[in-house]
């Protein structure tokens, strides 16, 4: 619904500070005889167990692993072909190649043009999408089960027979270049791009968006795309995930027939993204956005890889700091001070160490005050966390876990994480006890190691420098450098 205003929970919301501890006992006798006892907040009973359907693991004759999870509630099916190569495999100077390759897969394939393919998919009431992240690429088909037999060959065309025609590459190139130009319009997108560049630098892959930049997208040829495709789109580097109203027994022969002719070739060694160098003392960067009503703030440094041994401690730590509505950052910047619609933090865990970032859009005239509050909370998290706050964070993560398996796309998303990050299936059953078993000491240790505000190399503020530059310099929060959007997006 286009015009409604909402307070999206994870970025935003309400609550107030209120340091007074109101006694909530004064209700008895107020209501009629039948009224409920509101003097005590109802305590939830024992949490329900999550009963997950089994992952049925199969392999096609060409070696392609297939995982099938049956969910029969709605007559739909979700198939995701995960290809274990993404932007991290982009060669130097060709940043954006994985992204461009994935985007081209459905722009003409098999005997069908881009338009014919789109028409065929839509006519089935299906959805077929392609995409890539730093760590993987994927082709996703969502279809009514009654149309699956007609939709599978279309998915196979896109996977196995993409055309990469010059005309379509040139057309899509213009779209991508225009979209990159539009990054400048969106202060939040610009701040995130600037932050990545300033944390990781121009030579580390994470310092440039997965989509690449103007120069790299301008130069890419159909031959480049085809080379990336041939190198990495192979059964030995892929994994098919199927979730929905199907049975393994009837589906498997169809998958064999559809994808069985997909052959392995030689595969080059996949480039591994090196762990980025951590930064030295704090540096503040400003990007001008004349007339901006808010300043976009990003604070942090290099975080951790998904393989970190501190995964659960960091999950709990971040929930307390900026990963939930009642987190300290949101409570402070939104509820206590009203400087922002919402404030949050995140460890973006990838195959290599991704960024840790604390973020908010704050009203321009409170930029310095907001920066100070950010540092107050980032420093404060290194003190022992009160037991009830820690318990709330653990419960929020652990007890909320089952809700993340409801729809076919949710289930598929969870399975994709296992595949891309090489996690054991037991991750699903271990998650709740491991979160609940995380100790205060472990969280404290993680905070000391991963949140060091004196070293946070990067504080990025995108805002109206005419208003905010002098106050920020005067606040002596660290050395200040002004950078241009063009410099960042180069």
């Amino acid at each position: 619904m286009k015009f409604e205003v909402r307070s999206a929970k994870f970025e935003v919301q309400r609550v107030l500070i209120g340091l007074t501890v109101a006694v909530s006992l004064a209700t008895a006798g107020v209501m009629a005889q039948q009224g409920p006892d509101r003097s005590k907040i109802p305590e939830p009973g024992a949490p329900p167990a999550l009963k997950l359907p089994p992952i049925q693991k199969r392999t096609l004759a060409n070696g392609l692993p297939v995982w099938i999870v049956e969910m029969h509630e709605v007559p739909v099916v979700n198939l995701t072909m995960v290809v274990k190569a993404g932007a991290a495999a982009d060669p130097n100077g060709k940043y954006g190649l994985a992204s461009f390759t994935a985007a081209m897969l459905d722009e003409g394939a098999g005997s069908k043009s881009a338009l014919e393919l789109a028409d065929a998919v839509e006519f089935l009431g299906a959805g077929l999408s392609t995409g890539s992240s730093f760590d993987s690429s994927s082709i996703r088909l969502q279809a009514p089960v009654s149309r699956l037999d007609d939709a599978l060959p279309l998915m196979a065309d896109v996977l196995m027979r993409p055309a990469f025609s010059q005309a379509e590459v040139d057309r899509l190139r213009k779209e991508r270049l225009t979209s990159l130009v539009q990054t400048k319009d969106n202060p939040s997108a610009l701040a995130s791009a600037a932050y990545a560049r300033l944390v990781f630098g121009p030579r580390h892959r994470y310092g440039t968006p997965a989509m690449g930049n103007q120069a790299s997208n301008t130069e890419m040829t159909p031959a480049d795309l085809r080379e990336f495709y041939t190198s990495y789109y192979q059964p030995q580097n892929a994994h098919l995930i199927v979730v929905g109203d199907v049975t393994a027994a009837t589906l498997l022969p169809k998958l064999e027939k559809t994808f069985g002719s997909w052959k392995n070739g030689t595969m080059p060694a996949k480039p591994v993204v090196a762990t980025a160098t951590q930064h030295g003392p704090r540096q503040i960067y400003l990007v001008d956005k004349p007339g901006a009503a808010q300043s976009q703030i990003r604070i942090g440094w290099v975080g951790v890889a998904r393989s970190t041994a501190d995964y659960y401690a960091l999950d709990v730590l971040n929930t307390v700091l900026g990963g939930s509505f009642t987190s300290r950052l949101n409570s402070n910047l939104r509820e206590e001070h009203g400087y922002a619609y919402g404030a949050s933090s995140q460890f973006d865990m990838r195959l290599s160490a991704g960024p840790f970032v604390a973020a908010a859009g704050v009203q321009s005239d409170k930029t310095v005050e907001s920066l100070k509050e950010f540092f107050k909370e980032l420093d404060g998290i290194k003190q022992p966390i009160p037991a009830d706050e820690l318990k709330r964070a653990k419960n929020y993560e652990a007890l909320g876990f089952p809700a993340g398996f409801e729809a076919t796309a949710d289930m598929a998303g969870n399975l994709i994480q296992l595949v891309v990050y090489g996690l054991p299936e037991t991750f699903f059953t271990e998650y709740v006890p491991k979160i609940q078993g995380t100790t205060a000491a472990e969280v404290l240790k993680a905070a000391a190691q991963y949140i060091q505000t004196d070293k946070f190399a990067v504080v990025v503020v995108v805002g109206d420098l005419a208003k905010i530059e002098k106050p920020i310099r005067d606040a002596n929060l660290g050395p200040v450098r002004v950078v241009t959007a063009d410099e960042i997006l180069k």
């Binding site: 509101r38 907040i41 939830p44 839509e122 009431g125 089952p402």
Partner: protein, 450 residues
């Protein structure tokens, strides 16, 4: 409503009708003595329950000088109530592994709490306490706190968002000053500044009484048990007075209304908007389909010409934005960088849009073109069955159909509005509603870059 069609089922007409009959969400409904309508639906796929409340009031119920108030009020609903001290609403829900949110629209405000099924009593307690006892704790300080948050929400979604000023402008141009859709849901800054605790009390008494609300509890529940729990928690909420229907002046554009804005953007964008039939009124579904024929997917008429063939536009969207007191149909085209001046490039794009609209007026769309849209519409109804909670889950949909159609399980009827349409119906709606000489034409041009 819902130009954002997702995906679908294809078939012969008879098979479609059969499928349409299959789309049903079983429910039980009853009304408490205080007037609260309750709808229950069981779905045990995951151990989660959703508590979904619609209050039948939105920005259309605001008074002059207090625009944005329904939404500001929504924020206050999370700040505590008589037996839930400030901050506790969210913290006890998080401690139970639950989530919550709300949204305000022109005609209604909806709230949801999603919790693991063991926390059902907690959620019902919180929901009933704020329905019954919000005013016990409302203070100026509470209003002040959320006023600042909401102003930042406005800055984020309007002032600081690319093209963010276009939307409020279109509503101002389309609706007369005394029409409640004239002002934006988020409100004007000066009106947000003016809002007081007394306004909160007045709005609550007028619009937040149980007979002006409906409660859906859906998910991993036992219907008989949950009914008792609801009677327990909500029976002491006092009834209020009936709400008078809103009287609205007629809406009619005098001709082509032209306006130009400048913004800190790289690319110029053209907005066209027409006055169209209200949600579920005759013509509403036809215009949803027309929107997809025009701009849904690569083969749609405007996308194919402007974006795919000419490559003169970065994107084009078309949608019927439906509301209870009237709707608007929108087409938005963003120009690619070109050697033309921004205004001139938009004129060229507009000429192509008009050519395509004119073709649709002269000749009905192809049968396959319409069938492709209907197949996607049908599939979208199935995809919408996958989630119980949150915005747009089954609980929210049951409430929406109850409020807007008078029947919670209106899924098949709603789908039927589309599946019976013929190409000539789409043509007729385009002729009747998307007229060339009465519409809004808004251009957003880039400010001089420095």
């Amino acid at each position: 409503m819902a130009a954002g069609l997702a995906l679908c089922l294809a078939t012969t007409p008879s098979a479609q009708q059969q499928t349409a009959r299959q789309i049903t969400v079983p429910y039980q409904m009853f009304t408490l003595a205080n007037g609260l309508t309750v709808i229950l639906h069981e779905d045990h796929s995951v151990p989660v329950v959703s508590i979904n409340v619609w209050y039948h009031a939105g920005s259309a119920n605001e008074k002059v000088g207090r625009t944005g108030f329904a939404h500001l009020f929504e924020h206050l609903m999370f700040e505590g109530s008589k037996n839930v001290k400030e901050g506790l609403f969210d913290s006890v829900l998080e401690a139970a592994g639950g989530g919550n949110n709300a949204s305000t629209a022109n005609d209604r405000t909806n709230y949801y709490i999603d919790v693991p099924s063991n926390a059902l009593d907690l959620a019902l307690f919180l929901e009933s306490d704020r329905m019954g006892y919000l005013l016990d704790v409302v203070s100026e300080q509470m209003v002040n706190g959320q006023r600042d948050v909401v102003k930042n929400e406005r800055r984020q979604s309007v002032e600081n968002a690319p093209y963010g000023m276009a939307d409020p402008k279109i509503y101002e141009l389309m609706y007369p000053k005394n029409h409640p859709y004239h002002w934006p849901v988020i409100g004007y800054m000066e009106d947000l500044t003016a809002a007081s605790a007394e306004d909160v009390r007045e709005f609550f008494r007028k619009y937040y009484a149980p007979q002006n609300a409906s409660l859906v509890v859906a998910g991993d529940i036992n219907t008989a048990d949950v009914r008792k729990k609801i009677e327990h928690w909500f029976s002491d909420v006092k009834p209020g007075k009936p709400v008078d229907p809103i009287e609205v002046p007629p809406v009619a554009l005098p001709g082509v209304v032209k306006e130009t804005l400048t913004d800190a953007v790289q690319l110029p964008r053209l907005y066209l908007a027409w006055v169209t039939p209200a949600l579920y009124a005759p013509g509403d579904a036809e215009l949803d389909v027309a929107a997809s024929v025009l701009a849904g997917g690569k083969n749609s008429r405007l996308y194919k010409r402007l974006v795919y063939d000419m490559q003169a536009a970065q994107n084009v969207v078309a949608y019927q934005s439906s509301n209870g007191l009237g709707s608007m149909f929108r087409i938005e085209v963003t120009a690619r960088p070109s050697s033309d001046a921004p205004g001139a490039s938009l004129q060229k794009l507009k000429a192509v849009v008009d050519e395509e609209l004119s073709k649709l007026r002269m000749t009905p769309p192809d049968a396959r073109e319409v069938q492709r849209v209907l197949n996607q519409t049908e599939a979208s109804f199935f995809n919408r069955m996958e989630r119980v909670g949150g915005f747009g889950g089954k609980a929210d949909q049951l409430n929406g159909y109850w409020v807007n159609a008078g029947n919670p399980d209106w899924f098949a009827e709603d789908l039927g509005r589309y599946m019976t349409l013929q190409p000539t119906d789409i043509q007729a709606a385009v002729i009747r509603w998307l007229v060339p000489d009465r519409r809004i034409e808004l251009m957003v041009l880039p400010k001089e870059s420095k």
